[in-house]
């Protein structure tokens, strides 16, 4: 029984390490493609990138805006429950800490995983199963350059834009709730938020956008392109991509919080 358990753990560890090795090679291949601009065709890749930004950014904006307004409102409602005397002096700091530093990047990343990460893993997995990747390779079109790179850049740009949307609407949602308890104008609230906001907050938000967007795009494309040659493997690859993306986002978020805010 104990031996079987040890064998199972060993097998899983070996598989996990092999996966890490495969992913490292995948990231290396993408980095090599990015570092060789002479072999990239900006006109062809620009179209793929534009589609990616449109799908991951523009089409996700309404969902992000709705989620941000609700979360901003709920954050302030919950604050009222334990900070009975919440003054307008503190509301700015509260919104910066909760929305801009943490929830903005994190919830946006979860939306990106749910909408775009799953789409990337499914699309790239289907391309592998349908022989589309082999056709690209046969014509010397590097999938790292043609498939992965535009999705990576698109996911990062979409993350940056969606975080701005989330932060703005999150503050607005908080403002709407605060109006019920305080004599507050939007200009005053924005003033308080800007007072509490430091350049470091903006920089770290951007850093999270780059880290989260890159991790989601790379993991989703990697699991999709590595799918085993059977249609029943595609849903498994998508599930693995989602789990790995969520885990990596939480790890990156934790590392940044420990490194810069502790």
């Amino acid at each position: 029984m104990l031996r079987a358990l040890a064998v199972d753990v060993g097998r899983r560890a070996r598989r996990g390490l092999a996966g890490v090795g495969r992913f490292s090679r995948f990231v290396g291949g993408t980095a090599r493609a990015a570092a060789n601009p002479a072999r990239l065709n900006p006109r062809v890749l620009g179209k793929v990138l534009l589609n990616q930004v449109r799908f991951s950014g523009l089409h996700a904006a309404p969902l992000t805006a709705g989620a941000a307004t609700m979360i901003g409102a709920v954050a302030i409602i919950q604050s009222f429950t334990f900070l009975t005397g919440l003054a307008d002096d503190y509301i700015g700091s509260l919104l910066v800490s909760v929305i801009i530093r943490e929830l903005g990047p994190l919830v946006t990343a979860i939306i990106l995983i749910g909408r775009s990460g799953t789409a990337m893993a499914t699309e790239t997995g289907s391309m592998r199963l349908n022989g589309e990747i082999e056709a690209l390779e046969a014509y010397r079109i590097d999938p790292a350059a043609f498939i992965v790179l535009p999705r990576l850049v698109g996911a990062v740009l979409a993350m940056l834009a969606l975080i701005v949307v989330f932060d703005a609407l999150g503050i607005f949602g908080g403002f709407l709730v605060a109006l019920t308890r305080m004599d507050l104008s939007l200009a005053l609230l924005l003033g308080r938020v800007l007072e509490a906001l430091t350049p470091r907050d903006v920089l770290l938000s951007a850093l999270k956008a780059v880290g989260f967007g890159s991790a989601i795009a790379l993991l989703s494309c990697s699991f999709g392109l590595d799918v085993e040659p059977s249609p029943t493997e595609l849903p498994k690859a998508v599930t693995k991509a989602v789990v790995a993306s969520l885990a990596s986002v939480l790890v990156i978020d934790g590392v940044i919080a420990f490194a810069f805010y502790l």
Binding site: N41, V44, G131, E134, A138
Partner: protein
């Protein structure tokens, strides 16, 4: 000039040896029929020729230019989110062999010649299997490669598309500007086409340099396909 050369090429996939120590070379004008049972390794061989796969051991050397082989898969092989026309121009535009307007004009002319111009703007999923395969042929022809690789070229085609495909193969063979590889599990259908014949059996390659040598062979594996 050599269009393609295999030097001690082996290919392993999922712990299975699909090709073992394969050596051969092909010149422009060669028409090679690759045959063997299912799972014999012929698909791995044509994918290695096309560049869609890389050898596990050994080396594959191909002719000059960025697009040494034009690959026509039996199914799939076209990007599903691009129209047939966009698929045809993608390699030459991506590698800057042709400017996009010139490539589109040339691609439309090729699709017209192949009889599928009316489906040029359709996505692959909205086109028939014949149109999809002929679009792959147009893509390969536009790239002007040193070798053409056809995987089961006549499978699932209707009579009109099959006739067009035979015309294409005849034209490429007679043109003698590139090597032509035809992979098939039905040797008799391509007996008159081939000048050299490659038998794949359990990953090993046997080369018959002439049709006469193939027809005279007593190899039971060959007889299985001929008798």
């Amino acid at each position: 000039m050599t269009a393609i050369e295999f030097r001690r090429v082996s290919y392993h996939a999922a712990g299975r040896v699909e090709l073992r120590g394969v050596d051969f070379s092909a010149s422009p004008g060669d028409c090679i029929v690759v045959f063997g049972r299912s799972g014999s390794g012929k698909r791995a061989l044509v994918k290695l020729v096309s560049g869609a796969l890389r050898p596990t051991e050994g080396a594959v050397a191909s002719g000059p230019g960025p697009l040494p082989a034009g690959y026509v898969a039996s199914d799939g092989g076209l990007l599903s989110n691009l129209s047939l026309l966009e698929n045809v121009v993608l390699p030459v535009v991506y590698h800057r062999r042709l400017a996009r307007p010139a490539a589109l004009t040339a691609a439309r002319a090729l699709l017209e010649e192949l009889g599928v111009a009316d489906q040029a703007d359709n996505l692959p999923a909205r086109s028939g299997v014949g149109a999809r395969r002929l679009a792959q042929v147009a893509r390969a022809m536009l790239a002007e490669p040193a070798a053409y690789v056809f995987d089961e070229p006549l499978d699932e085609l209707d009579a009109a598309a099959a006739r067009k495909m035979r015309e294409v193969l005849r034209g490429l063979k007679d043109g003698r500007r590139a090597a032509v590889f035809i992979s098939t599990g039905r040797l008799k259908a391509f007996l008159d086409w081939g000048e050299r014949f490659f038998l794949l059996s359990e990953g090993g390659l046997t080369v018959f340099e002439t049709r006469a040598a193939l027809l005279e062979s007593a190899d039971p594996e060959v007889r299985l396909f001929l008798d």
